[in-house]
């Protein structure tokens, strides 16, 4: 499993599916027998994990949205989140 870097183009694992939970007005990431509640930032990132965008591009886009939070801090958060998700097998780096 290769680590996710700024150049990776992450994708959602085949077993995972994003779903809007209208009961609680939030996104959930569903996978076999489990569900993960995503906060709005995490949901923004997951929606961009299509294999099309690099992590760098995802950070650019979200740094705009979360201004005035500095880009470096957005990048740090996103990389940490993606590493966690990769460990759970929910996101692939796209580098394999």
């Amino acid at each position: 499993m290769s680590p996710i870097t700024a150049e990776s183009r992450p994708t959602l694992a085949a077993k995972a599916r994003l779903r809007w939970d209208r009961q609680a007005s939030r996104y959930m990431l569903l996978y076999p027998e489990r569900g993960l509640v995503l906060n709005p930032t995490a949901a923004d990132v997951v929606q961009l994990c299509t294999g099309e965008h690099t992590v760098g591009a995802i950070v650019d886009r979200l740094a705009d949205k979360y201004a005035p939070q500095p880009r470096e801090s957005v990048e740090r958060e996103i990389l940490a989140f993606l590493a966690q998700m990769a460990e759970r097998g929910l996101i692939r780096s796209g580098d394999e």
Binding site: D21, M28, L30, Y31, P32, E33, R88, G89
Partner: protein, 364 residues
């Protein structure tokens, strides 16, 4: 309870019929009394009512769900509701074309069971020749682009094979491996003397699983479900009675767990006569063991009551005759001696199998 209970998972037991005869089957021992009674339309209405209650996960199981010839319609309906749908199957009887069709209709995940890692041992537990076919089905699952869960129920006769099970799961490229120790209820309770492992066996297998989980992190999820017979505290059975899970049996009974209908003195409602939402929120049976009011000591004043919710009501009843007793699996339970006696019995096991059968069986 501060939080309104919300079901996240609907376990749809589409039929209790099954070509396999596993001696630890989770279906009740009197399963023929609960014949299939729900039509395709009934099930689709149930799925819709479940989704409206908050359910996001749907387990299509049984028995063998493939024996329902309306499975395709059910999968299609579930997908329309955006439910994450998991087919829990023995893989028998299945043609590749049918599996491909289920993929097109939106099935999300397939869970295939094997009973052991060799043909002879697996078929011995299944009570039919099925092993080769199961492996073939597992390969189709991956070829067709599904995520694959491989499930193995663990007991005395296969716990020493866990390393080989993991290797097999890797070779099949399983996404998730469920190493689930037998729950000693129903058929498994009848066969406890044949199935219950020793502590040494269990500790060995747990260690193998732990190492594999670390090694395979991110590639294959390795789940090891410990048997509560060797735990200090009971498990949070179903995450607590009527808290997260809803189960609908083949005859339409709505249950908090797989065998709740074996508990005496509770009246379970049927989806044919009452809506799922009404049953979940207001039925006597779902209220019976929700919260803490029903708890005896030592649960009532125990710090763990919000962690394990008093353990398993069915285990309490089937071992002590009292569904409100503290789960005997708990080391603090007055009836814990029953578990200790069973552990002692595991040192003198039997190989005699009572296969699942439609005929009434004597309880141990």
């Amino acid at each position: 309870m501060s939080e309104e209970p919300r079901p996240y998972t609907l376990v749809a037991e589409l039929t209790y019929r099954c070509p396999l005869r596993c001696p630890y089957c989770s279906n009740p021992t009197d399963y023929p009394r609960h014949a299939d009674a729900l039509t395709t339309e009934d099930w689709l209405r149930v799925f819709g009512e479940a989704e409206a209650l908050g359910v996001v996960q749907l387990n299509l199981t049984g028995g063998e769900p493939l024996l329902r010839d309306d499975l395709e319609s059910l999968v299609e309906g579930a997908r329309r509701l955006d439910l994450y749908t998991n087919l829990i199957t023995s893989g028998i009887p299945l043609a590749r074309e049918r599996l491909a069709r289920l993929k097109t209709l939106g099935l999300d995940n397939v869970q295939v069971s094997i009973q052991d890692v060799t043909r002879a041992a697996s078929d011995h537990i299944a009570g039919v020749r099925a092993f080769d076919r199961k492996l073939e089905v597992a390969r189709w699952v991956k070829e067709l682009g599904f995520p694959l869960t491989l499930n193995v129920v663990l007991h005395r006769q296969n716990l020493d094979h866990v390393a080989d099970v993991i290797a097999l799961a890797e070779s099949l490229e399983a996404d998730r491996l469920e190493l689930a120790n037998t729950q000693y209820l129903g058929w498994a309770l009848v066969n406890r003397r044949m199935l219950l492992p020793t502590k040494a066996q269990l500790d060995g297998a747990r260690e193998v699983a732990r190492a594999a989980r670390k090694r395979l992190q991110g590639r294959m999820e390795v789940l090891f479900v410990t048997p509560d017979y060797y735990a200090e505290f009971p498990k949070a059975c179903m995450d607590g009675w009527g808290r997260r899970f809803l189960l609908v049996a083949p005859d339409g009974l709505v249950l908090p767990c797989h065998v709740a209908h074996t508990l005496p003195g509770l009246t379970f409602d049927n989806v044919r006569t009452r809506s799922l939402g009404d049953i979940w929120r207001h039925s006597e049976a779902f209220g019976a063991f929700r919260g803490e009011a029903w708890m005896p000591e030592p649960c009532r004043s125990c710090d763990r009551r919000t962690i394990d919710f008093g353990g398993c009501r069915c285990q309490a009843y089937h071992l002590t005759g009292d569904a409100t007793a503290t789960d005997p699996a708990c080391s603090l339970a007055p009836a814990h001696g029953l578990i200790e006696a069973a552990r002692a019995e595991a040192l003198e096991p039997t190989d005699a199998v009572t296969y699942r059968t439609a005929r009434p069986v004597e309880r141990v």
